[in-house]
Amino acid sequence: MAIALSEEQRLLQESARRFVERDYGFATRSRIVASEDGIDGEKWRQFAELGWLGVAVPEAYGGMDGGLAEIAVLLDAVGRGLVVEPLLSTIVLGGGLIGELGTEAQKRDLLPPMVAGERRFAVALGEPQARYDLHDVTARARPEGDGFVISGHKSVVYDAPGADMLLVVARSAGEPRDVDGLSLFLVAPGMPGVTLRPYPTIDGGRGADVVLDDVRVSGDAILGTPGSALAALTRAVDRARIVLGSEAAGIMAVLVDATRDYLKTRRQFGTTLEKFQVLQHRLVDMLIAQQMTEALVLRVALEYDDLDNSEKARAAAAVKAKVGEAGKFIGQQAVQLHGGIGMTDELPVGHYFKRLSIIGTMFGDAAYHLRRFRDLA
């Protein structure tokens, strides 16, 4: 089957890339990263106007009824501009989990405000000992009355500072590393017992370690059936892995272009660097790695919804393994071929390299997904 965007997807891609190019330049991005909140509320409002926040939300909740491919198209533009606002956390992880697991009432309550740009989410999956295993959860949720009391330490929660709602994974049954017994809860960050330790992240974003100490939530704060969150969580994170791949492919494209332009202009030894064959070949290797990643991600994003569950997991693992390996190569080489100037904070290249490197680790690095791909065979 040939791989191509539909006409609508192509138009979305063009408009998203145009918006980022025109309204999210590197100077703007740097200003946002340096600001107190680390995000720009005005930009977020524009994302809502452009329909980005509802691109994969059913029409019944105010969205555009698109799928994974539409999100992937957006995230490619996000990568090209190093957009730091919490699109992945809000529309893919938060919105995706609410859409899949939420009751009618929860969806009506949460999705339309998200689409309108009035509510942002962060998903508290990880724990200090868990590395990349979604089922390695020690946070506890014990039933009390008609609700739950949650305690635990969730680590490196991207976009938690500034989120209106946290989606917290906690164990309502079983032992650490059991695949059963996980539940997902809606926790407002201001609730008694919730402590955020916020910090900047090295890729220009914001994160926090979140400690929950006897946080009391009501019965309607649970998303889905108690004890059986892992399957939906894995699907949501796999979707995040794929669109992160799309973000990475956008970053890789920028790095290849920037490196090519630099080789064409930088003069050493009486000529431009592009004349040196060893550098030509290196650039070609970067281009090949970028093209392979981009094509693989696009293919998976377009076909994903039609795959069966085991194919889905394997496809996500393949994307993440490829993104990790190609991202490391392209990022390192982009800096190397730029020489000293590539090491500076002033040049965008280093910032693209850092984001690409962190994407390489998010939700499992290349080694993790190689093993996963192999074990799912």
Partner: protein, 398 residues
Amino acid sequence: MDVKLNAEDAAFRDEVRQFIADNLPADIRRRVETGKRLSKDDHVRWQRVLHQKGWIAPHWPVEHGGTGWSPLRRYIFEEELGRAPTPRIIPFGLAMVGPVIMTFGDDRQKAHYLPRILSSEDWWCQGYSEPGAGSDLASLQTRAVADGDDYIVNGQKTWTTMAQHADMIFCLVRTSTAGKPQEGISFLLIDMKSAGIEVRPITTLDGGQEVNEVFFDDVRVPKANLIGGENKGWTYAKFLLGHERANIADVGRSKRELARLEAIASSELSDGRPLLDDPAFRSRLAALEIELMALESVVLRMLGDGTNSGPPGPEASLLKVKGTEIQQKITELLFEAIGPYAAPFVTEALDDGWNEAPIGPDYAAPLAPYYFNWRKASIYGGSNEIQKNIIAKMVLGF
């Protein structure tokens, strides 16, 4: 695999090891061990400890303050410095300009500068690179024009490591535009307190500020500060580059960093078990260990046939390329070992005296900046691509 030593050399190694254990200040040791940022004072204090013992410049001739050690003993010494967590010896005075001054300088220059280098009284920095002259040093533009007993220097240097601390800078400057670009270059020593010098920090992608731009605006430099002959600077620069590169293999330090990686990988969990037990991770670690053994073997063979002490050659380039590749690979695995905790970036945590609880494991904070910062190793000192050109030219005859 440890280097096999005869009884005398083994006793020497033990002596060095004991001396470091007894004399390395505990606070400095802790900062190096945990990857914290070091201050100028940390470096100077440690270098003065070595100076007091007479061990600060083992590679210098005895008459200038060297030790007279065999090349093997110098290697053992450097390996022990690397293995114990000591600060790097700042190379600009001791390893770089010092040998140039003692080889090409006049008596007055030797008498004045060499003792001050040994005692760390002067902190030196290197004025080679310029915005338009990175690996292609010969194209440098900074001008020095004779005016009576002085030169007037105008131009800009860049990537000047730790210029913010420096008392002196050694510079390549253009004194003539006639002939080939290499022929009009002179080697000049400049006091950093001279009027007309401005140092501007460059922030690197890891958030650090160890490199600088240095601007020269009508800076007056006495002609007495010229090394050797006017327009002969290229010869001295090439001599110096060989010294710089020979130090870059840094096998001892890489051994220590590998040990650190193993320690971290045994505390980090993967799939519920120590990351160190993960077969894929173990294979990568083993491959790296073998690579380091092979590099060390090259160094030991050079010590055996005496080729390690000569002018810059393909051997020095080989050490630079492989040494930095191994160092970078180690930083990459350290970055990957800490998994999600690579992302939090609290710069204050890299400074000593930050007393808040760490985010994640206590070893995590410096590792991502270290990975990003160390990408410079394959760029500076003549990029690795340039080193390979040198090897191709000298070994393969291209």
